[in-house]
Amino acid sequence: MASLKDLRNRIASVKATQKITKAMQMVAAAKLRRAQDAAEAARPYAERMDRVLANLSTGMAGRDDAPALLAGTGSDQVHLVIVATADRGLCGGFNSSIARLARQRIVKLIGEGKTVKIVTVGRKGRDTLKRDFGDRIVKSFEFTGIRQIGFAQAEEIARTVLDMFEAGEFDVATLFYSKFVNVVSQIPTTQQLVPASVAALDAEGADLGGAIYEYEPDEGEILKELLPRNLAVQIFRALLENVAGEFGAKMSAMDNATRNAGDMIKKLNITYNRSRSRAFSSPVDWPDGSENAARQKSNVPHGKMKERT
């Protein structure tokens, strides 16, 4: 049985924790709003990019001179797994669920005898994957110092991936991130980046009223120019989804923590008040109605009696 002083300290410390989690929840809510705005603002570009690529790639399908970024290298021996997580924790299962999905895929690929190379984006993903696949991680990105993720960061990642592709270091690239559904739900998702997945490009073509595009330069050239850019756009979109997801997850995690702290304070208060009234009252009127006053009295530690004064 903890002493009254101990109990008071516990209550004070849980209250302090509750204040922190409450503050973190509110900060996450504000940041979530900003992240959602950013994701919203980035949509027009990505949508148009999708549409144009869909237009161009349908014309390219099945042609021998289709760019490797679209058609693939003809092999799937070396896989590049890009795992995008948050840089910070305290957001529930957000990071670990992305890492888990990535790990499942990596284990499966290794089991199939493929070579797996890993690029991590975000500190948490690297920390988790380092333990099992440390020697496979070829590059890690961290954006801890950056307030808001911009297109420049996505470009940086895309450039690294493209350099590796051009150097023939992998055949297939897959991106792991978390899709933001709402505050309580973020779904870990995989997206194939190289060769560009057709599903992602399955957008409606623009209405030209029967006319056809005039291409300048020709279709192949444009496609060659757009595919690398598309990579950055896809990565950027994933990063934005991740940021929104991170803060959504953090918000609900901190909300839970605040509520748990509240429950704990309530319980501790009850215990505290019970023990206090026990210490105060004379042995005869025990609230539990026990009769053995002598035994009850001896149960009260000497130190506690002092609390009365």
């Binding site: 950013a38 603002a41 980035a42 027009p44 570009y45 990505a46 148009r48 990019m49 144009v52 237009n55 161009l56 911009g150 297109f151 996505a154 470009e155 623009a206 209405d207 030209l208 009223g209 006319a211 056809i212 595009y213 005039e214 291409y215 300048e216 330069p217 050239e221 444009i222 120019e225 757009l226 850019r229 950055a232 756009v233 950027f236």
Partner: protein
């Protein structure tokens, strides 16, 4: 004036401009194009340069753009540009200083990685100066 042109200027981060204009001059990969309302569908890549937006009764607005493409459909003109800077916000003296800084960075770079990043920044700034 002929019919108006719906013009969207989009960067990866946001929609910068979406309005009705008279004519837009775009630096296409094979040469500059002036696009007005009712233009035939075109798809072209951008070369780094300046976009001019003309609307009746307003001074021409100019933007430096780099990396992206142009799409003309019946609905209008869309310019997707990875980097966009309004020329009005550019100050040539400040630009010169930044170029000097960037040149120093290239010279001081210790690793290839850093040098490449610095070189890219320098190229970008130089293109920007040419656009002025």
């Amino acid at each position: 004036m002929a019919e108006k042109l719906n013009f969207d200027l989009v960067s990866p981060e946001r929609l910068l401009l979406s309005e009705q204009v008279d004519m837009v001059t775009v630096p296409g990969a094979d040469g500059d194009m002036g696009i007005m309302g009712g233009h035939a569908p075109v798809m072209a890549t951008l070369r780094p340069g300046v976009i001019g937006v003309e609307t009746e009764g307003q001074p021409e607005r100019r933007y430096f753009v780099r990396g992206g493409f142009v799409e003309v459909t019946l609905a209008g003109l869309t310019v997707l540009a990875e980097h966009t800077v309004p020329l009005a916000e550019l100050d040539s003296a400040a630009l010169e200083r930044e170029i000097a800084d960037a040149q120093e960075d290239v010279a001081d770079a210790k690793t290839d990685e850093k040098r490449r990043i610095a070189q890219e920044k320098l190229d970008y700034l130089t293109q920007l100066r040419q656009a002025l």
